[in-house]
Symmetry: C2
Subunit: 190 residues, 2 copies
């Protein structure tokens, strides 16, 4: 596949994610995608003729973006740890994890939309699992940092907590999550 072709596919999948966040699943139409991506009408229909595979690819793309952010988080941790010490680095990770629904609002809301859609459509089940796994990675990383090698980390509880307060914040139904808020809970469950 040529690089320009790949670039256009990425433009389209990015547009799908923006649309999922701004207009929900019902706002994701081929014509809306073309407009949001700044491409001629028919482009998204050409690259993704059927809608279901388009949503599958968009989910994979979103999962890859989440994984990438997690990789960068871990690199950032290593850099800060070497320069300012482990405590500062742990605080950095905590801050990033807690504010992710803010700094990556579209990715977070698109994941919520796709997770809900995946629970209804069997053909999206697999990519739904993929999204959850990708979203839990940074939380698992953070838990590993502060758990001193414990094996029974309550990842479900911590991930649920962060998803829940993030969702309420992202939908305007709750205050911005803080590290202090999370720290209490994380310390308690470890």
């Amino acid at each position: 596949m040529s690089s320009t072709k790949q670039a256009r596919r990425t433009l389209i999948l990015d547009a799908v994610i923006r649309l999922l966040a701004s207009r929900g699943l019902e706002g994701v139409t081929h014509r809306a995608i073309d407009e949001a991506a700044g491409l001629p009408q028919g482009s998204s229909s050409y690259y993704f003729p059927k809608k279901e595979p388009l949503l599958v690819e968009a989910s994979r793309h979103l999962a890859a973006l989440l994984e990438k952010d997690c990789d960068e988080l871990q690199v950032g941790f290593a850099e800060i740890a070497s320069r300012q010490g482990v405590d500062a680095a742990v605080a950095y990770v905590a801050g990033e994890v807690v504010s992710y629904a803010d700094t990556a609002r579209d990715l977070f809301l698109a994941r919520m939309e796709l997770t809900l859609a995946a629970s209804r459509r069997p053909e999206l089940k697999d990519v739904g699992d993929l999204l959850t796994a990708a979203a839990r990675r940074p939380i698992e990383f953070f838990l590993r940092l502060i758990s001193d090698g414990r094996a029974d980390m309550p990842i479900e509880t911590c991930a649920g907590l962060i998803d829940g307060i993030s969702l309420m914040y992202a939908t305007g139904q709750g205050p911005k999550p803080t590290t202090e808020q999370i720290a209490t809970v994380f310390r308690a469950v470890l």
Copy 2:
């Protein structure tokens, strides 16, 4: 308004909630509602000619159902408290709150759909707030029970935790919430 008219409106709004849970916002169409409600084609169009007011009314109806369940929860608490003591009654409330996404799956998922929709559509903002308030009532009640009159209850944290793990469970992305799981966190934040 006659009682049969009110009964049909309720049939329709109940059908909307079921459709929101089973097919999402995009699955809520006038024709689908008529079928789900077991009414002749055109019924939902007659009672709710425009879709936006229909969603507003469905949100109000859902909020009322949540409030009703909360009332019953409080009645149940009082009954158990008088018969088996306060500890048993508190345990009962904890169990009900934690398993609500299971026992009232449709109500929970419909609220998630509507909360997401409300964050995108200004005309749904108010009913979105209404839904959040109704959903938080039982949690606030439970917190009051176990907080010994403290004023600074972390309702946001606890509500976020329950919404988050409930959402992951309801979408098949996490295990069933347990009272033990929640108890640790609640004790910690109080």
